[in-house]
Symmetry: C2
Subunit: 453 residues, 2 copies
């Protein structure tokens, strides 16, 4: 169509669109995350990307609302989901009568936030969430399961250097009570939450000057926030017990949750009790979590969550307390990719073997491909009429590990020649035998965790 | 929050939102489709749901454009994708320089069409597409691969009763040439395309009265359209050869494509040469496909596609011919669900086993769950403080196949009791042995194809 005015084919900024070899790695990550969630008995949920704006924004306001993609269709006022929690609340409230509680669901899907686009900020991003939602009440065991899922999931991704920071909101809340600072607790929590980024000196300054706390109060808050550095943080907290019921309850809960976490397989090396973990959201009322990559603390938390008392108060009178967490999958992918953490041995080719026919008739190639597929391999046939060198260059560009040559000789003898594209080594044998060899070699690579060790 | 005005939690009509036990079946379907696509060496692509309206609508017009969800954010004019072909065209044009051609990609994702909502019509729906895109040219082997993928995919879903209807557009086009009807070919093709739905009598009427074809022409068209009933349809077509180059070329291509299809494993029982397959889209220029469920012909084609000369003419001067197909996954799911075709033995529970602790301390349950998960099972712990009957009712409601009881006796003896929830049978043995037993029994069910045989 030479006379048609061309439109420049472009993808919006802030929207992820990966080349195939990276998409394969992203999909591997996603499937490992899914398997891990499923091993804990979480059920999949897939809610629409579009919801009625009234439903989606029942609770939103301020910054959140500004970021939302809104649209109208006919007379309907619609919006794109900006997280997976609001759709869960809607779903649980709408299906309250038919669900079995505790309702354990996971959802992996895209969410939309019209943020200013910058490196590491996406407008369309995958989140991977799990939540356990109770009907009226929910025991602490679920609070311990969430970090167990985080641990198993991050290990399944191949990550070693990460730490789950855990606390209980009641500890800070109770502590503020004892200082008579309850009314300021929101501001102080947000300040304390920054400790990791700004350090103790700056936090003291913030508490004294910006929040105008009296010096002894500022020191007390700072000392509590730093308790994670004092040997056993739980003991350090214990020394402050007995002055607030809220504080004491938070501490008891935290002790129980960390005890059960360990029974569920989270080793001491991978979690840290840290009362400075406050999480910005008002929403959380008990256990709170963050997960940091120990070698990349600068990127902040890559997986956060906590306990809430009331999931769906905007939709129903039923009290639905729960606990959950969310992995920012798109963000995590880019961090791992940028820092070169993916295992270079990962299979990034779309096929395990490519058949390169050396004759005009492609019948033999077709039959060989079918038999190799039936044996469980992913197989392409290079079917274009090009020079042998160009055919091999194609295989090379895709990173295909094995090329299978099929010429007159091979067809006559019933034996085929396979080239290992990494080593250059060529082997001639029966198709069945070579198929088994390729299966073995590629299966090893497919078992690799995304992050190399 | 008793004082807050509640918003009714509802999901928009035309938007799929499945309960967990159905979502699990949908996910099983999706993963079988993905595995099948990957076995042919197609690479995954994941393009954004939102695109610039200018890019997305470069080619659209008329009915399509009316259905589109459009929105603005800041000063940007945006739209939600309505298929996966336009994003492929954009992607291939934008990444022409870095892609290896033939570019073989699959994409499974949601698309958006603001249709009037009715049973079987969705506004948000999953499509599962494959395409092979060539650079300048693409051999006929790819035309044969598409039905091979369709066949393998439908078989992987467990479907037996389906037929791939195949033709080549050039046959009808060439035939119209010989009748001097070239200028009317669009209208006539659309009429012929309806043959399956309206029958021969009505088609004759349509050709004569609505399209005002002379009687001999109408009979000739009708007779060609009915050629699939005449024994070997290819031979029936051959008898009409020698009068139009276009017709003859189409017939040669169709012969070659069906020959290679068979070499690629598509049996004669599952495809049918049928010159009445025209496909509505102008876009197609050669081989065309439809797939019908033989026991549900009324639902029409559930998987269609074809050969096109120019994928991305609106974005680039590069000629990118290709061939592909699309499965309407959401629609197919609802057809199979409505007609009760899913295997009733399918695993629809989110876990293979649920541990039911009979003691207050959940430590043992936590450790047992961890060891069963490490062995590869999906395991929940019922951690709420309820009566044993309520705990079992929960397991029952979820359809969990095995319940594991853990009371004082079990903890003391180191042996556990497992109840098969289907048969009621209880077994007491070591955790390791029971875990192996549960693995074996559930693995069988997990291997089942979605559709029962």
């Amino acid at each position: 169509m030479p006379n048609i005015q061309k439109v420049k084919p472009r993808t919006l900024s802030g929207f992820m669109e990966l080349p195939p070899e990276k998409q394969i790695v992203f999909d591997l990550m996603t499937s490992r995350v899914r398997e891990s969630f499923e091993s804990f008995g979480f059920a999949p949920l897939d809610t629409p990307v579009i919801e009625s704006a009234e439903v989606l924004l029942a609770k939103a306001g301020g910054e959140t609302e500004k970021q939302i993609y809104r649209l109208t269709k006919g007379e309907r006022d619609l919006a794109l989901r900006f997280d997976l929690t609001v759709p869960l609340a809607k779903y649980a409230a709408a299906n309250y009568g038919s669900l079995a509680f505790p309702f354990r669901r996971y959802q992996i899907g895209k969410v939309y936030r019209g943020e200013r686009s910058q490196r590491g900020r996406y407008r369309e991003l995958y989140q991977a969430d799990i939540d356990v939602v109770g009907d009226g009440a929910l025991g602490l065991f679920s609070d311990a399961e969430i970090p167990a899922v985080i641990y198993r999931t991050f290990r399944a991704l191949g990550l070693g250097g990460f730490a789950i920071r855990i606390s209980n909101r009641k500890i800070l809340t109770g502590f503020f009570e004892t200082l008579g600072l309850t009314e300021r607790s929101g501001d102080i929590m947000r300040a304390v939450d920054k400790l990791d980024k700004i350090g103790a000196g700056k936090l003291r300054e913030l508490l004294l000057s910006e929040l105008s706390l009296p010096a002894p109060d500022a020191e007390a808050v700072l000392s509590l926030a730093l308790a994670s550095g004092e040997g056993d943080a739980l003991d350090a907290l214990e020394s402050r017990a007995g002055r607030s019921e809220t504080f004491d309850r938070g501490l008891r809960e935290l002790r129980e949750v960390t005890r059960l976490m360990e029974e569920l397989g989270v080793p001491k090396t991978h979690y840290k009790v840290d009362p400075a973990v406050a999480r910005g959201l008002d929403y959380y009322t008990g256990t709170v979590y963050e997960t940091i990559l120990t070698e990349h603390p600068d990127v902040g938390s890559v997986c956060s969550g906590g306990r809430y008392d009331d999931l769906a108060g905007h939709y129903t009178d039923k009290k639905l307390p729960g606990v959950g967490m969310s992995i920012g999958l798109t963000r995590l992918f880019f961090i791992l990719d940028d820092t070169g953490l993916f295992d270079p041995r990962l299979m990034t080719a779309p096929c395990d073997a490519i058949i390169i026919p050396m004759t005009g008739d492609l019948s033999h190639a077709a039959r060989l491909a079918s038999s190799m597929r039936a044996a469980g391999l992913r197989v392409s046939v290079y079917s274009e009429d090009k020079k042998p060198g160009q055919k091999l260059a194609y295989a090379d560009k895709l990173g295909v590990p094995f090329a299978v040559f099929l010429g007159e000789d091979e067809i006559k003898s019933g034996r085929i020649t396979v080239k290992n594209m990494d080593t250059g080594e060529q082997t001639t044998a029966s198709p069945g035998m070579l198929t088994e060899g390729i299966k073995e070699k590629t299966a090893e690579r497919k078992r690799l965790a995304p992050v190399g060790g």
